[in-house]
Amino acid sequence: MNSIKLEGKEDTPRIILDPANDIFEISGRSLPEDAALFYEPILEWLRRYSETAKTEISFHFKLNYFNTASSKLLLDLLMILEEMANNGTKVFIKWFYDEEDEDMLEAGEEYAELVEVPFELVTY
């Protein structure tokens, strides 16, 4: 499958979905003008990727800011990963946060409660 590489902008995150190099990462900030429109191709890619069985996937979240509209779509993304886990893939989520930013830690903890996937919270 082709990889996805999006450069980060002031209002959209940097996204790398690269199976060949085993990199799945979203970083930076997320407040797109239209969150659903921005995330749709990402979610679609991941849905297609999940269609064929995978042994494992490690997905990294290194966001320093996301708005509430994005928060919903990040949950959609996590739910696709949860679905993969249910179908036998070993899924690991790493949620990175600035140690001064308690809200980002809390956001990670709350996502961990919403989906049943191994969730690791890491400071950077």
Partner: protein, 194 residues
């Protein structure tokens, strides 16, 4: 003669406006359409000024967050009001003020009476909840469903209350029977008070 008088009126207005802004420690004031460009410009300006003041990272993120959600409330929820000649969709008033102790983010827009009832209900529900209650409501809303047609997640007010750690201070100033001007003020303490 007439021109000279008009100029004087404008000059007095600007001077008065300047003094009021200084007295109320207002850093930024805007009235008009809230577009994505406006949101980007205001957050960039605030980030710059907060970095200059060497505000802690956590506080910078909170203020950033509340500015974005407050502006999105205007751009997504300010609707065209029946019977109003002017276009009111996405139009609002926005202020940022800073005192020795707090940041204040103030957002206002027109709403019709029908929305006012539902909004009051939601705002009052939020204001009755403590930290854990707000978290539970947030989680419930996250699980519940899709983004609305307007692109809202129904999380804005909940999020503002959680990030600021205070009840939502709001007001509906009646304009006509059908419409009010809705104002939401969010106060964010500059130093941590627990």
């Amino acid at each position: 003669m007439e021109n000279k008088l008009m100029n004087e009126i404008f000059h007095d207005y600007v001077f008065d406006f300047y003094r009021r802004m200084k007295i109320n420690q207002i850093n930024l004031i805007y009235e008009g359409e809230v577009t994505h460009q406006i949101t980007k410009a205001f957050t960039a300006l605030t980030e710059e000024s907060m970095a200059k003041d060497a505000e802690p990272n956590g506080l910078q993120m909170k203020v950033f967050h509340i500015i974005v959600e407050s502006l999105q409330n205007i751009s997504k929820h300010a609707q065209n009001i029946n019977g109003f000649k002017e276009e009111t969709r996405g139009i609002g008033t926005f202020l940022i003020a800073k005192s020795e102790t707090d940041y204040f983010i103030i957002a206002g827009n027109l709403v019709d009476t029908e929305d006012r009832i539902a909004m009051t209900e939601l705002l009052e529900t939020i204001n009755k909840l403590d930290k854990d209650g707000l978290k539970a409501l947030h989680q419930e809303q996250m699980k519940k469903g899709k983004l609305s047609e307007r692109g809202g997640a129904g999380l804005g007010f909940i999020d503002i209350a959680r990030k600021s750690g205070r009840p939502l201070a709001y007001n509906f100033k009646p304009i006509t029977d059908q419409t009010s001007f809705f104002i939401l003020t969010t106060q964010i303490p500059r130093s941590k008070v627990e």
